[in-house]
């Protein structure tokens, strides 16, 4: 993986979007050959592949007029920081790259967002992330001096950074704002890979002080499931489709968090599947939303109606991604959700009621999203330019890995 990391450094000097994208595909093919690892190495490999894939999708989704060198450099910086987050071994370097990955997103938000509110959103994101991750830095030093950790204060000092990044319900306020203000490619990578840094971080920390985290995380497991339940309800009252998708990613990540914190093998496997599946799925949803937004110039769920009559291919992609979002069978989210539910039920069997409600609610909002945006008939729009081949390819490349991995789940099993 270090060779790919170094190879990305060489991509920086290339100023051509096509060649950068091409070389990233080359790196992916190269990484596929090292898929014989197991354990933590496999996890790293999967996440690096995910971030390479999604950054490539990002490169594809940028409209021609924005394809400038500086955006490309920010993308490569982002990719570099993501790869180094997943690659590095030590906690201090993990922290360093974890913090570093915020800055390219912040620059994308400031430079390519289109509303004045992006300032507030960017500061929200930056200050939330940095404020909660600086205590982690102190605790990393304590761990390096091998001072015994105990008590809930040090637990929260360690884990808050990841809870904000995932985000857990209650610490999520930066996420919807950042998503609303970010351009399409920004929210694609934000939902696709950035949220997974939190889950990966909890996994990484639990390799060293897993018993300590398991001992203190009892309430968090329940709280996270309840938070997911509440936020799947919150999804129904959103009028902005981007907010709805952002809240849906909070819901998905909350069940990932509770599954991870149970520290069962089932939970870890399930959370990996869910994270990869959610990475592709939410990225694809934001992408298809961006393509819809380019045509209708509105994200309101009231205005976007009746696409099934006007632009059926758009409706098809909305259907495919919404169905993946509600964990419809050929999708990776299904297995992930099942595993996570099982791990939480095994942890505490009286959670089954909340989990059942969670399953129903979290699938219903995807149905709601699809039926309210695609069905009925439109009173505003009459015709649109159909999806071009490139746009369809972009969505196809989101959908295929999402639905093909279920044929062999052993590649996500570590």
């Amino acid at each position: 993986m270090l060779d790919v990391f170094l190879a990305i450094l060489f991509v920086v000097v290339i100023k051509d979007w096509f060649i950068v994208s091409y070389s990233m595909i080359l790196y992916m093919v190269y990484l596929f050959f090292s898929f014989n690892d197991s354990g933590e190495g496999l996890l790293k490999l999967v996440f690096i592949l995910l971030s390479l894939w999604l950054v490539n999708m990002m490169l594809m989704s940028v409209p021609v007029i924005l394809k400038t060198t500086d955006l490309l450099i920010i993308f490569i910086w982002l990719l570099l920081s993501l790869v180094s987050v997943f690659y590095v071994e030590t906690l201090i370097l993990f922290y360093l790259s974890f913090e570093m990955s915020v800055i390219p997103i912040l620059l994308i938000l400031f430079g390519w967002g289109y509303q004045p509110d992006r300032l507030e959103a960017g500061f929200y994101m930056l200050i939330y992330t940095v404020f909660f991750s600086l205590p982690l830095l102190l605790k990393i030093f304590y761990l390096e001096y091998s001072v015994l950790t105990s008590g809930s204060l040090s637990f929260f000092m360690i884990i808050m950074a990841f809870l904000v990044k995932i985000p857990m319900a209650g610490l999520h306020y930066w996420l919807p704002r950042a998503h609303v203000e970010a351009p399409v490619f920004g929210s694609m990578i934000l939902a696709g890979v950035m949220l997974k840094l939190g889950g990966y971080g909890i996994f990484k920390v639990s390799l060293m002080i897993g018993d300590f985290i398991f001992k203190n995380s009892q309430t968090l497991i329940v709280f996270s499931v309840l938070g997911g339940l509440i936020f799947s309800g919150v999804c129904f009252v959103q009028s902005d489709m981007k907010l709805l998708i952002a809240y849906s990613s909070i819901v998905h990540m909350s069940i990932v968090l509770s599954g991870l914190l149970t520290m069962r093998e089932l939970g870890l496997n399930g959370s990996l599947m869910m994270m990869v599946g959610h990475g592709f799925c939410s990225s694809g949803l934001f992408c298809v939303l961006g393509l819809t937004y380019n045509r209708t110039m509105t994200r309101s769920i009231i205005m976007n109606k009746g696409f099934i009559l006007i632009i059926p291919i758009c409706s098809l992609w909305w259907f495919l991604f919404c169905s993946s979002n509600l964990s419809f069978p050929p999708c990776l989210n299904l297995s992930g959700e099942l595993f996570l539910f099982l791990s939480v039920i095994m942890y505490n069997s009286s959670m089954y009621f909340f989990l059942a409600m969670f399953g129903v609610m979290s699938s219903l909002y995807s149905v709601y999203l699809f039926s309210f945006s695609q069905q009925s008939f439109s009173w505003e729009f009459y015709s649109f330019k159909s999806f071009s081949l490139q746009e369809s390819l972009l969505l196809f490349l989101h959908w295929v890995p999402l639905n093909i991995i279920i044929l062999d789940l052993s590649i996500l099993q570590f």
């Binding site: 007029i65 500086d70 590095v88 370097l93 940095v130």
Partner: protein
């Protein structure tokens, strides 16, 4: 005046060296007086609006500080104050030095004076002028200084948030950074030198920019030039201590060194660094958001030293990745 800097600057640097290398209190005092006089010449070199007034204020406060220092050192028989940390005799000299260098509890005069300073003298005021008092305070009053550090951190970061003038903001940032300097001096002189060099470098870049663009208020910071934009943004992120940049390295090392014996101070320092980050980034946002919808510039790097600094700033802490 033709040979102004040829005479004044060497004298100024000599006074710092004289004071730091002397072995009795009296010659330290002499060095500080030399420092004061040459610094007043540096302030007076450029006639700005009311620069005489700020010069006068500066002179009065500095001479009061020096006199207190001289008096308290003179009446004391003991040369070092190691064993009587909180006696009144021992408290006066460090307080006089804190007054002279504008360290936090006695910092009230600095924002006023700084408003009328030229960029060069402001730069010297927030960097080199801190050297002598800092070293002398840590020669004898280390235990007292541990109480001053959190005060500096808090006042520097809280005061900087509301400032609209770049000079006052830099003064408050220097108060916060002098807290970090003292924190590094509790560990070792080497750490102080590391921190100080990086702080010096970043402020040098920032104040060169301010000097060239003739900036006085934060809202004036906007640049149509892309290299300047990335340079100043990266310098501000570096000052705020965000990880991939150079400013993170000394803070990382300091925190790692002091965490075991000053846990509460390190917690305060990192919490306060959020506020400093807020106001450092606040001055870049005008620059970051100041552009038309479609970018008109292309990527041209500026002159070699600047881009070299930029690369150093960006990649220095990334080099540690090969240690993993």
């Amino acid at each position: 005046m033709k040979n102004y800097y040829l005479i004044i600057m060497p004298l100024y640097l000599l006074s710092i060296m004289f004071s730091l290398s002397s072995n009795c209190w009296m010659s330290i005092w002499i060095g500080m007086e030399m420092n004061l006089l040459t610094f007043i010449f540096i302030i007076l070199e450029k006639k700005t609006f009311n620069s005489n007034e700020s010069c006068m204020k500066y002179f009065l406060i500095q001479s009061v500080g020096s006199l207190i220092f001289l008096f308290s050192v003179g009446i004391s028989v003991q040369m070092t104050y190691v064993y009587e940390t909180f006696s009144i005799n021992a408290l006066v000299p460090p307080l006089a030095l804190m007054l002279k260098s504008g360290i936090a509890p006695l910092h009230m005069w600095t924002p006023d004076v700084s408003m009328k300073l030229s960029p060069l003298s402001l730069f010297l005021f927030i960097s080199l002028q801190k050297l002598i008092p800092m070293f002398i305070m840590f020669s004898s009053w280390t235990i007292l200084m541990k109480w001053v550090i959190p005060v500096n951190m808090v006042i520097g970061s809280m005061g900087g948030i509301t400032q609209a003038s770049i000079n006052k903001m830099l003064i408050f940032s220097s108060i916060n950074n002098s807290g970090w300097m003292m924190l590094s001096l509790t560990e070792s002189t080497f750490l102080f030198i590391l921190f100080f060099i990086i702080y010096f470098l970043m402020n040098c870049i920032l104040l060169t920019f301010i000097w060239i663009e003739k900036i006085k208020w934060i809202s004036q910071i906007k640049s149509q030039n892309f290299p300047n934009k990335i340079l100043i943004t990266s310098v501000m992120m570096s000052l705020s201590g965000l990880p991939p940049f150079m400013g993170f390295i000394p803070k990382w090392i300091i925190l790692k060194k002091i965490i075991l014996f000053l846990p509460l101070v390190s917690l305060i320092s990192i919490i306060m660094s959020i506020f400093t980050m807020f106001f450092y980034l606040k001055i870049t946002i005008n620059m970051l958001l100041y552009s038309s919808l479609i970018k008109k510039w292309t990527m041209i790097f500026s002159k070699a030293p600047m881009s070299l600094f930029f690369l150093l700033n960006l990649t220095s802490s990334l080099l540690f990745i090969f240690l993993t």
